[in-house]
């Protein structure tokens, strides 16, 4: 198996599902072609399905979105998880919605929904968890969020401006590989309300990805993942990087740095093309939002293992690129491990980035914002 096998850029299937109905939206962006629309519905469709006999337990699938405009940020993750708790034998999925919003500091929550509070359409992309919905129609994702235990709600339309990319077969040490669909750049318009204060996003740049696979939280792996979008929306570049490693992060399983220019994938650096340098000093926030809040009882620490900066250096075939993240603020998603009574910690970290290099004879340099994610224990 080749790690991060060639990006799937095949023409979309003509069998793409029709988009689900949603309330009327603003006029469709004429630059979003039918090809892009069909690509989303083919590559980013909900995989779902029931685990077949003998298959690895722990089927998981999630849709992840990040929106930011320099003043505020919104992160939403709709996750379907096979219920692997003791006594559960092929129980239906449970839904887990993670929402983080940041103006001055992070606010948010994780809400869990039993099977009878979840509605999932098998065709296309349409998930409802209680009062929250993610659906794709008319060339845009719509996020409708209304948390029950946190004064946070939002309604945002996100229009892809880059063709979705598949990065299949990401190796995991304890099971089958993880699959990954990336829409690295979208334009987000809508609002979010935080403690009664509304913030409007107007064509703010956003990121989306979608993962599916079989693993258990607590398995022996970790990841560092991040994206960077330019401050200047006229800049055509979008950047994503990922590094899968063992639990202690001492040995990489796979790593990649993906570059898009305009609507298309432009360059990939893989494995030995890349060197990751992590600052030995840690980020020291005054406080850390932990969600769900109750998990701060067994995990009360405010010290994190998040570095102050991360730098990925890529060099291959005459091309070179340096992506440097200066990390600023962190929130922790605390997931009860499924292998023991431990905790899997996902550090969601916002920051600014500087990208500099030369690709195919073209110099590029831009400043941007993005998020990094550090998964570990």
């Amino acid at each position: 198996m080749r790690l991060f096998a060639e990006l799937a850029e095949h023409a979309p299937s003509a069998a793409a599902a029709a988009p689900p109905a949603l309330p009327a939206r603003s006029a469709r962006n004429p630059t979003i072609g039918a090809h892009l629309d069909r690509s989303v519905l083919v590559r980013d469709r909900l995989r779902g399905g029931v685990r077949s006999a003998g298959a690895a337990p722990g089927r998981k699938e999630w849709f992840h979105f990040c929106v930011g405009d320099g003043e505020a940020e919104l992160l939403a993750n709709f996750s379907l998880c096979e219920d692997v708790r003791p006594g559960a034998d092929r129980r239906p999925d449970i839904g887990r919605l993670t929402v983080l919003a940041r103006r001055d500091s992070y606010v948010g929550d994780v809400e869990t929904f039993p099977a009878d509070h979840i509605a999932v359409r098998s065709a296309g992309i349409d998930l409802t968890f209680g009062a929250n919905r993610l659906a794709y129609a008319d060339g845009a994702y719509r996020l409708s969020l209304d948390l029950s235990e946190c004064a946070l709600s939002a309604c945002v339309d996100l229009r892809p401006v880059v063709v979705p990319t598949l990065a299949p077969n990401i190796p995991l040490p304890d099971g089958p590989p993880l699959q990954w669909a990336i829409v690295p750049r979208l334009e987000a318009t809508g609002w979010m309300s935080l403690d009664g204060r509304e913030h409007r996003f107007e064509r703010a740049l956003a990121y989306h990805d979608h993962n599916w696979g079989h693993f258990l939280w607590g398995h022996r792996f970790s990841w560092i993942w991040g994206f960077c979008l330019p401050r200047a929306s006229a800049s055509p570049w979008s950047i994503v990087f990922v590094r899968l490693a063992n639990r202690l992060r001492t040995s990489a399983l796979a790593q990649g740095l993906f570059v898009w220019k305009g609507e298309r994938a432009h360059r990939i650096f893989r494995e030995d093309d890349l060197a990751l340098e992590v600052d030995s000093a840690f980020l020291r926030p005054r406080s850390v939002l932990k969600v769900p809040a109750v998990m701060s009882i067994p995990s009360p620490e405010t010290a994190t293992e998040v570095p102050r900066s991360v730098e990925m250096r890529a060099r291959a075939d005459g091309d070179h690129l340096v992506v440097r993240f200066e990390l600023e603020d962190v929130a922790q998603v605390l997931i009860p491990s499924e292998t023991d009574l431990g905790v899997t910690i996902i550090n969601e970290v916002s920051g600014r980035a500087l990208v500099e290099g030369e690709l195919r004879g073209e110099a590029l340099r831009f400043e941007g914002r993005g998020m990094c994610e550090f998964l570990g224990s």
Partner: protein, 160 residues
Amino acid sequence: MSSSAAEAGFAAFLARSLDVLARERRDAYLALCRTLAPRSVALVVDGDPVWLEFRQDGVRLHPVRRRAEAELETSEAGILAVIDGAATLAALAIDDRLELRGAVDDVLAFNDALSLYVHGAVRSPSFPRLLRDYRSAVAARAHRARAVGAPASNIRGGRP
């Protein structure tokens, strides 16, 4: 559930939650018991005390006073504030909304056991409903207390 169960106090909630843990997350339940055995612990919530006697393989709740190596005193509002992330245990203690008394080893064992209780609770399918019922009961009691003009509870409790 019956209205009496829905309005049951902290001791009843605790008893039911430990039953749920023993059934649905036996690993967390036994780890919790082994961490505190052979101690007894007193929990006093809004003035209502309950004593827990820990063995290696289980815990018994007693409504009558007995020796306790560790004693926790707080309010239902304090418990919900910690569950909801509105306050930490340390913040409650600093604000005199929680007291934890005992020898250092016993207090540390209590803290470890509390973590194991939460680890079990967040993995038990029945716990969300149990907690929802408890919240409703707390809200109903608070509403009644306001209606009769009772003072707000503190860790010394609303009852004598």
